[in-house]
């Protein structure tokens, strides 16, 4: 394999090649401090406000796709092979871009500090090729905070411009841009730096396995939506970074009849239609996981590997009986996902071992699935708790129940006592549910923190199980939910 000791990307109509990239350099700092491109702002430095949003173009199946990315937590090396577009360069030939003019026309900026980020989010929405409605717009800008406007004019700007086929300087030069990115698309292993301090982005699983074996102390990075914050917020020193994003096989999302497999480096954006296809509640969970920006970079693999007790996908995947495929050197193994989580900060993963892929079975015809995310704010918030439920129902009776929660213990964890209490009961017998609700108290001793009290967590864990049972027993979800109602129902809540 060839090794490339530089990163290359497209910026301002040129190919930029950098051979002196620190493992902890962020894209935002490179723009502002190195290039003096000051349009992109820093509002939080942790991926939560969207002020630093820019557009990244990548090739997907030979087509260029523009996605919004938080530059504050994107490592510079991660943009290898991509195109970067920032607000500074959006006006073309002295004319504002349609989304920019619309933002002026609707009075979409007040203090203006959030505006560059919104403009870039809208630019990527514009390039999705609408038409859009308010819900789509809401989802698309959920990762952009504005403290001044109240959002209405910004949403109006989106509704006025994101109508269909894009027609701007980028759509006019899409062929050219595509071929530039195709030219950058080599299969070299990127390694910038020295053996002590480096940014590496191997191009194959084998190369990754070998490199990680050599550097067990390196930090693996998928989308850096966690690791980025270790750098910008916790100010950790991470001298060795291995980015998995260049490995095409790890991006693969394969859909089979019985289930799917998701490569560890597949972003949420890449995985969401397949994963969300299993059940509408999963699509809704993914819609509310982070923001468009977070989902454009963040990976399902990272969500599992970080071992967080409040990650949203693990409880869902555990309930679905997902399996995790791990590799160390040349050795592969696979385990049930629930066995991966041992204790807080402790997973069944040895040094130099990495997640390769996750396989997720589909639901059987006699299985009912539900999951609910509870957070202070609906969009782009970390869960106070999340409950996932799968009931196998035969002849009106629950034959099998799988229940898992996030936010209720030090790890994403199954509610074994509640599960067994439901075994064999009649689904519609709400008196029989009580034992299971009470059993949750044996299953969990949640904690108090800034997101919720232990008491609320416990009480709401019960409420979510109740809700899942009510719905499984036939109640339509627009009578039981204020958000994320499942499609195909009679009347709407609002």
């Amino acid at each position: 394999m060839t090794i490339r000791s530089s990163i290359r990307f497209r910026y301002r109509g040129e190919t930029v090649e950098l051979s002196n990239v620190g493992p902890m350099d962020t894209l935002l700092d490179w723009l502002r401090l190195d290039r003096g491109a000051m349009g992109t702002k820093e509002g939080c430095g942790e991926g939560d406000c969207g002020a630093c949003t820019l557009a990244i173009g990548s090739l997907r199946d030979g087509h260029i796709v523009y996605e919004p990315v938080n530059a504050c937590i994107q490592l510079l090396g991660m943009v290898d092979g991509k195109e970067i577009i920032t607000v500074d360069d959006l006006a073309w030939g002295g004319k504002l871009h349609p989304v920019q003019s619309a933002m002026v026309d609707t009075h979409g900026s007040q203090c203006g500090f959030c505006t560059p980020g919104f403009v870039m989010s809208l630019f990527t929405l514009y390039h999705q090729g609408g038409p859009v409605d308010r819900r789509t717009v809401n989802d698309h800008i959920a990762g952009n905070l504005c403290r001044c406007t109240g959002y209405r004019p910004i949403a109006d700007a989106a509704l006025a411009t994101c109508l269909g086929q894009p027609n701007d300087a980028w759509s006019a030069r899409v062929g050219e841009a595509t071929s530039h990115l195709a030219d950058l698309d080599d299969d070299a292993d990127v390694f910038v730096g020295s053996d002590a301090v480096f940014f590496a982005a191997p191009a194959s699983e084998d190369a990754l396995a070998a490199l990680y074996l050599r550097h067990p102390d390196a930090t693996l990075v998928g989308g850096a939506t966690d690791v980025g914050l270790w750098i910008t917020k916790q100010l950790h020193t991470l001298p060795k970074i291995i980015h998995t994003g260049r490995i095409k096989s790890l991006h693969r999302v394969a859909e089979g009849v019985d289930g799917l497999t998701i490569g560890a480096a597949a972003t949420y954006a890449e995985a969401e239609s397949a994963l969300g296809g299993i059940d509408p509640d999963i699509a809704e969970m993914l819609r509310r996981l982070g923001s468009k920006q977070v989902r454009a970079s963040g990976t399902v693999g990272g969500n599992i590997a970080n071992g967080s007790p409040i990650g949203d996908s693990p409880p869902v995947l555990i309930v679905l009986d997902a399996r995790l495929h791990l590799r160390r050197g040349d050795t592969e193994r696979d385990i049930a996902l629930e066995d991966f989580f041992i204790d807080y900060g402790k997973q069944d993963r040895s040094a130099s071992e990495f997640v390769v892929r996750i396989s997720v079975p589909r639901l059987a015809d006699d299985q009912v699935f539900r999951c609910y995310k509870i957070s202070k704010r609906f969009d782009q918030d970390i869960s106070a708790l999340l409950g996932a439920f799968r009931f196998t129902v035969k002849g009106g009776k629950i034959r099998d129940a799988r229940i898992a929660y996030g936010g209720m213990a030090a790890i994403p964890k199954r509610a074994l006592a509640a599960e067994s209490a439901l075994q064999g009961i009649r689904l519609k017998d709400s008196n029989a549910w009580q034992k299971a609700l009470a059993a949750l108290q044996q299953d969990f001793q949640p904690i108090d923190d800034m997101r919720a009290s232990a008491r609320y967590r416990m009480e709401t864990a019960k409420a979510l199980l109740t809700k899942a049972l009510i719905e499984a027993a036939g109640e339509v979800s627009n009578r039981t939910r204020v958000v994320g109602t499942r499609g195909g129902e009679l009347e709407s809540v609002a």
Binding site: D29, M38, K41, G43, C44, G45, E46, D48, C49, D88, L90, L96, M103, V104, D105, H107, S109, Q110, C111, G112, F113, T115, P116, V119, V137, N138, I141, A142, N144, L145, R147, C148, T149, G150, Y151, P153, I154, K233, L235, I374, S375, K376, R377, F378, D379, D381, A384, D449, M450, S453, Y456, E459, T460, L464, K467, I470, R479, T480, V483, A494
Partner: protein, 773 residues
């Protein structure tokens, strides 16, 4: 959504009243509007990061900063002893050290500041400081503070009549308590300042501040030199909301100190977490009240007490808590009243100004009282509200001001109709009967907000206008631009005065060099007072120009007109630029200052008499919500607003203020929760844990209309009304609607809902309903 504002189209103005875009709109959307961190740094600029101790209270026993000093890139480590002048950045009381000296009073208080070649180096080095503290138990909550008995300021109250006697003889009394949370400003641009040292001790300070004059003063005091040697400039802020009124000074002072110590330009931009830990927020309060009323729910007396968490120092707590009292009546007449406030000292960051400046807390309590009365009487809360409105003969506030401009009844009548309040309330009652899990609520609440600084001397403004010989105009005033559109409104006023297009008026950065001793841009007064000052400045120049035009064309001065970029004198016409040129040749000054002091303000705090406000801004909103009674999740279905801005200077800007203010208030009362642990550490110090509204929280059905006003009764700038703060309080209708949704669970029981109404707070109230039932 209905955006066509109804405003008086009959008014014959060309630029004033037009929906002109924000002056920086095109630059905002292009990323080419520079904020302080975007300015080209002068060569050699150094960067600062603050260091703090990990405890909330204690004596500083010692410090080991050797690792900080030895860290890569570090040039200096500043501590209190480096300050040549006075170590204070408080707005008045002298109780806010720039760098802690001897003691730490809250978690996040800055003890030292690192100066390094890069910001990253400074931040990383700051982590290495070791501060040894003899820790003491902190007073964190209002109740902790009550237990210690310490206050930052003496209590204050309004007393009218004999509330205690009225309570005794009343047909009914109700009592209650509500906790009202604080609020983080979350301006998108964090605190930032850059200081550039000059000759002879001069210091040029770029600061993101609502009060350049105070930054100038603080820096001068800190350096031990005169105000005249320090210049503070601010072109724009990326949001402020009160959070950069007094809170900007500390970072400006530290950057100036670093500039002095190193002789190099110095910049300090706070990291978001530091910003949230180290700067003040909206005061959170516990309000306890007793109300006497008759059988129709008409209030005869109130006894209200607001226990306010002020934090460790006074900051602006005097004015803030006074304003709580001024607005504890909201729109309601209290014949007998005791309205009191306790300014409690706690070991938390010193709370400060925030849009509404204490008023919102007073109003939330008033609205809770109305809801409670209605629930207990099984009446429509709107009926109870109307019965208690100020009206003829019932029009004197508890602080003795006679309302002269009260339009509340008419405004609410209109909103009641356009929002279809009655029918929807009926439909909701029907829905709630059928629906088990989900419950809806609707509420229509008023806002009456007093305009003027209650600190009388702040009601003044200056402006400076220049006309150049090519006819171009430059305007400057003491007000700052934080997104509220002040600059464009003032430019419109100046353009109107000269009869020229607003696009030809050059707006310039606010600087203490051009307009000295300016008041903070606060209390919603920005366009009222700066607009008036600029009008006077421009008017003085126009007057001189008109004299010459009359002379040149043998016309009567009264026949000289300025319009459309031209000047008409009798039958003659010339361009504005030609006349400017003629003035120059005739040696007539084309520059003028303008000054304005708000008339009629006579408030005397010591005697609690006189008039604190020139006028009131009015508004009302109607919100409908759905609550999930299993989880406490809540969704807003629809919001209708009618708001009074007098004769709007710029309806687009005003609508923006109304919508933005409403959404900010909605966040305050719903998702925005500040959580301190029992050691006084703020646990919600980043957007990951502190949740301001996102786009999807704003209902798609959001109908905002301007009240069809004939203009402010008072002679304000073009008869407009201030709009910055009042709309925030329109969001009380959301809180009341949630209260009503929960109340539907158990007739006659008042939900003990506290603000913010997070899912957890809603569930606490829901559970209490079950218990009571």
């Amino acid at each position: 959504m209905n955006l066509s504002p109804k405003f008086d189209a009959a008014a014959a103005t060309a630029e004033v009243g037009r929906a002109v875009a924000h002056d920086s709109a095109a630059r905002h959307v292009s990323g080419s509007a520079p904020y302080i961190d975007d300015m080209r740094e002068p060569a050699g600029t150094v960067h600062l990061a603050p260091g703090h101790a990990e405890v909330a209270k204690g004596k500083i026993a010692g410090m080991d900063l050797s690792a900080v000093k030895a860290a890569p890139g570090v040039i200096a480590v500043l501590t209190a002893s480096d300050i040549p002048g006075i170590n204070d950045c408080s707005p008045a009381m002298g109780d806010d050290p720039i760098l802690a000296d001897g003691e730490v009073h809250f978690h996040g208080q800055v003890v030292f500041a690192v100066v390094a070649e890069t910001r990253d180096q400074a931040r990383r080095a700051a982590k290495l400081g070791k501060i040894m503290i003899d820790a003491a138990a902190p007073a964190v909550t209002v109740e902790d503070g009550e237990a210690t008995g310490e206050t930052v300021l003496p209590p204050y109250e309004f007393l009218r009549g004999t509330p205690d006697e009225e309570m005794d003889k009343a047909e009914h009394t109700v009592t209650g308590t509500i906790r009202i949370g604080g609020q983080e400003h979350f301006y998108l641009e964090g605190q930032v300042a850059m200081s550039v040292p000059g000759e002879g001790g001069e210091m040029l300070v770029y600061s993101s501040t609502q009060h350049p004059g105070e930054v100038q003063h603080c820096v001068a005091k800190m350096l031990g030199q005169s105000d005249a040697t320090v210049v503070c400039e601010c072109r724009r802020m990326g949001g402020a909301f009160g959070g950069k009124e007094s809170q900007a000074a500390q970072w400006a002072a530290l950057s100036a100190l670093a500039a002095r110590v190193t002789g190099r330009p110095a910049k300090m931009r706070l990291d978001r977490d530091d910003d949230m830990i180290m700067t003040g927020k909206r005061h959170d309060m516990r309000a306890d009240y007793r109300v006497a009323l008759d059988a129709r729910g008409v209030v005869s007396a109130v006894d209200m007490n607001f226990a306010s968490r002020c934090g460790y120092s006074a900051d602006l707590s005097l004015g803030v808590n006074d304003r709580t009292l001024f607005h504890a009546d909201n729109a309601y007449f209290y014949p007998h009243a005791r309205i009191a406030s306790q300014r409690i000292r706690t070991n938390t960051v010193s709370n400060t100004a925030f849009r509404g400046f204490g008023g919102p807390q007073g109003m939330v309590c008033a609205e809770r009282m109305m809801d409670q009365i209605a629930i207990l009487m099984d009446a429509d809360p709107l009926t109870i509200r109307k019965r208690n409105f100020y009206a003829r003969g019932r029009d004197v506030t508890p602080y003795g001001l006679k309302l002269e401009d009260n339009i509340m009844a008419a405004l609410v009548r209109e909103l009641e109709k356009t929002s279809e309040y009655k029918t929807r309330r009926r439909d909701i009652a029907r829905f709630n009967k059928k629906s088990k899990v989900l419950k809806k609520g609707i509420a229509l609440t008023p806002v009456k907000f007093g305009i003027s600084f209650t600190l009388k001397h702040l009601n003044q403004a200056g402006a400076l206008v220049h006309v150049y010989t090519d006819g171009s105009v430059q305007v400057n005033h003491g007000g700052t631009e934080m997104g509220q559109g002040l600059y464009i409104k003032v430019a419109q006023v100046v353009a109107e005065e000269f009869g020229i297009p607003v696009a030809t008026v050059k707006i310039t950065a606010t600087t203490t060099e051009k307009v000295p001793n300016a008041a903070p841009t606060a209390a919603s007064s920005g366009s009222d007072i700066n607009g008036m000052a600029a009008k006077r400045a421009a008017g003085a120049i126009r007057d001189r120009m008109a004299d010459l035009a009359a002379k040149l064309h043998q016309a009567k001065k009264s026949d000289v007109r300025f319009a459309g970029g031209k000047v008409y004198a009798g039958n003659a016409e010339m361009s504005f630029a030609e006349l400017a040129k003629e003035c120059f040749l005739d040696r007539i000054s084309l520059s003028s200052t303008g000054f304005y002091s708000t008339p009629k303000i006579t408030w005397d705090r010591n005697t609690a008499t006189g008039r604190p406000f020139l006028y009131f801004a009015y508004g009302a909103s109607c919100s409908e919500v759905t609550v999930d009674t299993l989880t406490g999740e809540m969704r807003i279905n629809r919001v209708d607003i009618v708001h009074d801005v007098g004769r709007s200077l710029n309806p687009a800007i005003d609508i923006g203020q109304i919508e933005g203010g409403f959404v900010q208030g909605m966040g305050w009362l719903t998702t925005e929760e500040l959580v301190y642990d029992d050691q006084g550490l703020l646990r919600t110090h980043a957007p990951s844990t502190y949740k301001i509204p996102t786009c999807s929280d704003v209902p798609e059905d959001f109908r905002v209309n301007l009240w069809a006003s004939k203009g402010n009764r008072e002679n304000t700038i073009y008869r407009s009304k201030a709009v910055g703060e009042p709309p925030l309080m329109l969001a009380t209708s959301v809180f009341s609607a949630i209260t009503m949704a929960i109340a539907s669970l158990n007739k006659g029981v008042v939900p003990p809902l506290d603000a913010p109404a997070t899912p957890e707070a809603i569930m606490r109230a829901v559970n209490a309903m079950k218990v009571e039932g």
